[in-house]
């Protein structure tokens, strides 16, 4: 009986209509189980629900959500650039550049994001006369995520065997050509899942920017909570809003993985 639901038997046989049915039923079972646990938990709760109060502030929540999207989109792109640059810097033969990369990654990964945001905004940015907290927020978030992304990329690059690199050099490829034609096609696919995870983290980490009064999704939800004293009613939309942003990233990563499956 369990055989129908096992992926192994599906692979061996033809993926018939039974397989699709099994998949559907499996999903249903999982949703029912998880839903059941939460329904029970919320059923136990002694809590006076007041969704009406939240409805008045839906525009505020929505604006915060848009700000989070904007911040995350910019940070996704810049952190990728920063991460790539740092990964290449750490493999650079010129030592001052290499050590800069190492110091950057270790400093950022070894300290809490909260402290970084406070120091960047109230100390560094203040010293340079940058008063735009959104700009500072995006930069801090990109630097933070960039350190992790650089390590993901470096691990990918270093997974390519030394013998391949030597062969490439011996047929006269330049460093740039080696990255472009030997390393990138091989590591692109295996970078996708950890990068997708990191991107989802960026979206959630952007909530920490609320400590320098960047008016993003989490801060707006907390404000609505302060105005209405409806804690769960403010925070449940928050969870849904973040899921709406992180789920597409997971899906996109799945699609990209499939696309690059035959790249090598």
């Amino acid at each position: 009986m369990t055989g129908i639901f096992s992926l192994l038997t599906q692979r061996r046989g033809e993926p018939g209509p039974l397989a699709a049915l099994a998949r559907l039923i499996s999903w249903l079972l999982v949703f029912l189980a998880v839903g059941g646990v939460f329904t029970f938990a919320f059923g136990q709760l002694q809590y006076g629900w007041n969704w009406g109060a939240i409805a008045d502030y839906r525009q505020k929540l929505f604006n915060g959500w848009l700000t989070t999207i904007a911040i995350s989109c910019v940070a996704l792109f810049t952190s990728l650039v920063v991460g790539l640059a740092a990964a290449l810097a750490r493999r650079c033969p010129f030592l001052p550049v290499r050590y800069t990369g190492t110091l950057y990654v270790e400093l950022i990964r070894g300290t809490p994001l909260l402290v970084q945001i406070l120091i960047f905004f109230y100390v560094v940015a203040d010293a340079f006369g940058i008063d735009n907290r959104y700009l500072v927020g995006v930069i801090t978030l990109s630097l933070f995520a960039g350190a992790y992304i650089s390590e993901i990329i470096r691990a990918g690059i270093e997974s390519v065997g030394e013998s391949q690199l030597e062969s490439a050099r011996s047929i006269g490829l330049t460093r740039g050509q080696i990255y472009r034609f030997v390393i990138f096609p091989q590591v692109a696919r295996q970078l996708i899942p950890p990068l997708a995870g990191q991107f989802a983290s960026i979206i959630k980490d952007s909530s920490l920017l609320s400590i320098i009064a960047v008016s993003e999704f989490t801060l707006n939800a907390q404000e609505v909570n302060a105005y209405t004293y409806s804690t769960l009613e403010s925070y449940i939309p928050l969870a849904v809003g973040y899921l709406l942003l992180t789920l597409p990233i997971s899906l996109a990563s799945r699609v990209l993985e499939r696309k690059y499956r035959y790249a090598h």
Binding site: L45, Y47, Y122, D131, A213, N225, A226, Y227, T231
Partner: protein, 263 residues
């Protein structure tokens, strides 16, 4: 016969257990919720245990009610939900008794009168809260405080900066990023003392408020007991003693500046 004796014994034992349980229920600890991040009212001493005016007040209240006191430290935002869901029995956390809050919990009689006032950047020309409600002005508030609620409701033209931490809000004013920070008299006074070169204070409150003990709705008996306690505590000089113990200098300074002291 022997069996009957055993039965009586068992029943006797059961009754004993029951009375013991009831007696213990009377000794059930009074769980008092507060955020230990507002010295000298709620803070931790050097060894990390709760200390401050609210903590002493809670213990004195416990003594008067004959119940041991357990201090539960939690974020200010979470206090009302915790009280509503029965995780704590009381809130003593420098909480202002507002109408909005009174809709979801009950309050005792006020035990302290204070008010919202302003910490301004040194070169700000503002003299009243009204001067700040103009386009181009930036006002910092701490999230979830009465200052935040006041500003959200009354300051329509100024830009509002909502911050998590009091220290960040003060920094905004010190660095001139915000024109003013709206907070209570005591905090404004302390932050002004610490940053006299970059800030000034208007300590006259533009909105009076009173702090009270939060109680779950429908706990009339407990509320009466607490109100009795507050009255007798005041007449026996308990609050004055707490003020002298924790904020002696400030008390003298308020006297010198001509503001009535709040505790």
């Amino acid at each position: 016969m022997k069996r009957l004796m055993t039965r009586i014994g068992v029943i006797g034992l059961f009754v004993c257990c029951l009375t013991a349980a009831i007696a213990a229920a009377g000794q059930e600890p009074l769980r008092v919720g507060m955020e230990l991040a507002y010295p000298p009212f709620e803070m931790t001493d050097k060894s990390g245990s709760p200390s401050g005016i609210s903590v002493d007040l809670a213990h004195d209240l416990g003594k008067a009610l004959g119940r041991p006191v357990k201090i539960e430290n939690m974020a200010f935002d979470g206090l009302i939900p915790a009280l509503k869901t029965g995780k704590i029995d009381l809130i003593i956390s420098s909480m202002t008794a507002t109408e909005e809050r009174a809709r979801s919990i009950d309050f005792s009689e006020p035990y302290l009168q204070t008010g919202l006032c302003l910490l301004l950047k040194k070169d700000s020309p503002a003299a009243t809260i009204g001067d700040l409600d103009r386009p181009g002005r930036t006002v910092a508030v701490k999230k979830g405080t009465t200052g935040h609620l006041y500003a959200a409701k009354n300051l329509k033209k100024a830009r509002l900066l909502v911050l998590d931490k009091e220290s960040a809000a003060v920094l905004e004013v010190v660095q001139g990023k915000a024109d003013a920070f709206i907070y209570d008299q005591m905090s404004v006074y302390q932050n002004w003392q610490r940053n006299r070169a970059t800030t000034r204070a208007i300590l006259a409150p533009f909105q009076k408020e009173s702090w009270a003990i939060g109680i779950r709705k429908g706990n009339e008996q407990l509320r009466r007991q607490i109100n009795d306690f507050i009255r007798s505590y005041r007449s026996s000089g308990g609050f004055d003693r707490l003020g002298d113990r924790y904020m002696k200098e400030m008390k003298q300074e308020f006297k010198r500046l001509g503001y009535p002291f709040f505790l």
